[in-house]
Amino acid sequence: MVEQKKCQVLVIGAGPGGYVAAIRAGQLGLSTIIVEGEKAGGTCLIRGCIPSKAMINAAHKLHDLSAMAKEGGHMGISIPGPAELNMEGLVAWKDGIVKRLNKGVENLLKRAGAELINGWAEFIDAKTCKVSSADGDIRIEAENVILANGSVPTELPFMPFGGDVISSREALDLKEVPDDLVVVGGGYIGLELGIAFAHLGSNVSVLEAMDTVLPIFDKELRRPVELNLKRLGVKVHTGVFAKGIDDEGNVQYAAKDEQENIKTLKADKVLVTVGRRPNNNGWGLEEMGIKTSEHGFVIVDEKCATNMRGVYCIGDLAERGAMLAHNASSQGEMVAEIIAGNIREWDPVAVPAIVFTEPEIVEVGLSPEQASAEGHPVIVGKFPLAANGRALTMEAEKTGGFIRVVARDDDHRILGVQAVGSHVSELSGEFTLAIEMGALLEDVAGTIHAHPTMSEAFHEAVLATLGHAIHIT
């Protein structure tokens, strides 16, 4: 006997896109069902953003403690003997955070009146799906469908995941720290985890096919990260391709222009982070009559509507905006409101992108090159964290960070803000707000920034753009 259910809104996937959509739909009084194959929270909460940040923080703490354990200590603090790492304990602590957030999401869904079903949804047609759950099969007919199936790590065919070849997901659940870790792919996920493992004591190498790591950022922003990689002893090989794994589990690679000359890197674990692809198969997308792009993303309009009426797609699976949790959430909230009868459109001026390397990178709006390319008359100002008092007290200046502001020369509208440095991620909100509100340099210049905080560095970067920063010459 297959249980039958009907609802106004069916959300597939309880990640940061799906669960937000379901909560908002519930708030708006729509009968809502959300189906999740694993745990509520999705990649972001369960195996991505949150657990990786927990691990990065713990790794950073260990790294700081090791400085204090050295001869003479640090900050006047000395600890006897080296700090000891219990990797299983670290993972358990991280799992505690994940569990709290997972329960929190389940609770929020319940309070909003959205029904969470654990199981694997497979579509029969665009508005009907069958869920195989622990309690048997359920057939759900929905008036509206929100696809929030997310993305999965891209696999390299010649070194598939399994055994010691791991994706970011397994890297967050390792029982012990690998002595030698090879990271294939020097993008943001690879470098975030690579640096964390370097802090934890691994001997880390990074293989990157492009001429540089983090190729999406400009040279000026990359530079402090590259220097810190060197300081941490992370060996970066650019312009090389991974070729496979040899019998001892070591990584074979070759330079782009010397494909015959195979070299080998010793590896206990191989972390493959060459990107993520839309999670577009295994759940009946092909039965839905929905258009997808060449790269497998679901094609949507500015309302995140697919070509099928009443079927929406948000987040990583949708071809709209970068693969970022906050994009998915804002799209999820919007789609729920559209289904409830509101007029909405996804039209952000600026979406912040943050890389949690050490130092961190924040990018909001247009870079100087992008702004010039779009025809803006551009002025740029920069302020180093080394000239910010609060940064010094937190040793945030040690990684050579700065804040950079891009504005229009004629009307002084702020077009973009970039920052690199320790702790700069927490400044991203003000950058984004300034751009969304259409702030001029004078608006930020005329806003008093609390002392002593790192936010003063943004104020100063704006003053520098206007040509009269106070704390630099």
């Binding site: 509101n342 007029i343 025809g375 004629d410 009307d411 077009l415 969304e436 004078e442």
Partner: protein, 410 residues
């Protein structure tokens, strides 16, 4: 030392303004005659304006994206000698370069920042809350002038915009005025002729109209084929020559439709010749040149002759002979064909055919939805002498020919 003021020159015939695309000189720069000064885009082309004199740039007028009228002083130079200006004229004008954004007046009425000054990024500057409200209320932000710094649109601007009336009608340049006044255009010449003829037709003839869809998928195939294999020098075939040839067949079968009704003498004159008037829009107004004895022509001759007489009408070279003697008229608006009309009969004829759009349409054939090329036909008939059945029958016969185009030539 003198001041040389340089006005935006006449940059082409009929050009009255240009948009500043780029400045090549900064204030204070030393320039030589013929150095590029600025790029101005007109609706025809982008023109680089060369420097008229040797000197130093004193003021510039017009930010990138701003529209300058021809004759507007756009730049002044300090030059050796006397120059051509006292400089006073420029002083009295706002010099955009010198007004820093925070100094801009906040009084909307004085300096409404033009939306066009947003160059580089056409997205209107507005906070997320204002953007959402505009979306919800169906207001087009790109039409609203922002009163905030850099033209930022505020909630108050949206209020003003709505209060000012139709939010989409005007382009949002300052307050809009109620208009009074009229323009009188004398109805003379051809216009008077058309007016008289139309009145005569409409007041004398008891019109009835009849509409039909015609599946021209096969005809289109034939037309494409003939066009791709047409002999050298032959005209490209539109639908009209086919319709004219099909009409020859249809009118021969229904001679009551190829007739004149002389209502004063109360006589119907049936014609053996099929002379088809082709309603033709010209710059001077509506003409109806006539393709005579279509029954004696093949398809290519029909196309050629139709092209000749309509072109003659358009260029004003048509003789009186070519503009009279029609026995039946076709009116076709080509691409603007629409989906239907009630054409007015060309008095003293008894019928007229309106040809409308042919487009790919979903139609039901044998219980399936299929895509066919469907042309809409309208017709009007003089009900005094043509019964509904006869007019409808003529159209049905015509439809049958057009849907089976081979039969046109049998």
């Amino acid at each position: 030392m003198g001041i040389y003021s340089f006005k935006l020159p006449d940059i082409g015939e009929g050009v009255v303004e240009g948009e500043v695309v780029a400045w090549h000189v900064e204030i204070g720069a030393t320039v030589k005659e013929d150095d590029p000064v600025l790029d101005v885009m007109t609706d025809k082309a982008t023109v680089t304006i060369p420097c008229p004199v040797d000197g130093t740039v004193r003021t510039r007028r017009g930010n990138v994206g701003e529209i300058l009228p021809v004759g507007q002083t756009c730049i002044t130079f300090e030059v050796e000698g006397e120059g051509n200006s006292t400089g006073e004229e420029e002083e009295s004008e706002p010099v955009v370069e010198e007004s820093a954004p925070e100094k801009k007046s906040k009084t909307k009425a004085v300096t409404p920042p033009a939306p066009s000054s947003r160059g580089g990024n056409s997205k209107p500057l507005a906070s997320p809350a204002v953007r959402r409200r505009a979306k919800e209320e169906g207001l087009d932000l790109s039409k609203v002038s922002g009163s905030g710094p850099a033209g930022r649109i505020t909630h108050e601007d949206l209020d003003d915009w709505k209060d000012a009336g139709s939010p989409v009608a005007a382009a949002g340049h300052g307050p809009r005025e109620a208009k009074v006044g009229t323009t009188e255009i004398p109805v003379v010449g051809l216009r008077r002729k058309i007016a008289e003829q139309m009145h005569k037709s409409y007041s004398n003839i008891a019109h009835f109209s009849y509409f039909e869809d015609v599946d021209v998928t096969n005809l289109e195939e034939l037309r494409q084929h003939l066009n791709s294999t047409r002999p050298e020098g032959a005209p490209k075939l539109t639908y009209l020559p086919f319709i004219m040839q099909a009409l020859v067949k249809a009118l021969s079968e229904r001679p009551e439709c190829n007739a004149h009704y002389d209502d004063e003498r109360e006589v119907i004159i049936r014609h053996e010749a099929i002379n088809l008037g082709i309603a033709t829009q010209t710059e001077r107004g509506l003409y109806v040149p006539v393709v005579k004895n279509v029954e004696a022509m093949d398809l290519w001759q029909t196309a050629a002759e139709m092209g000749r007489v309509t072109n003659a009408a358009k260029s004003g070279d048509a003789s009186l002979e070519e503009l009279s003697g029609s026995t039946f008229t076709i009116t076709s608006l080509g691409k603007m064909g629409g989906t239907g009309a009630t054409p007015i009969i060309n008095h003293p004829e008894v019928g007229i055919l309106g040809v409308h759009n042919a487009s790919d349409s979903a139609v039901v054939r044998d219980g399936n939805i299929v895509i066919r090329r469907i042309m809409k036909l309208s017709s009007s008939w003089d009900h005094r002498v043509v019964d509904g059945f006869d007019g409808a029958m003529l159209v049905q016969i015509l439809k049958n020919y057009l849907e089976h185009p081979a039969t046109i030539f049998m």
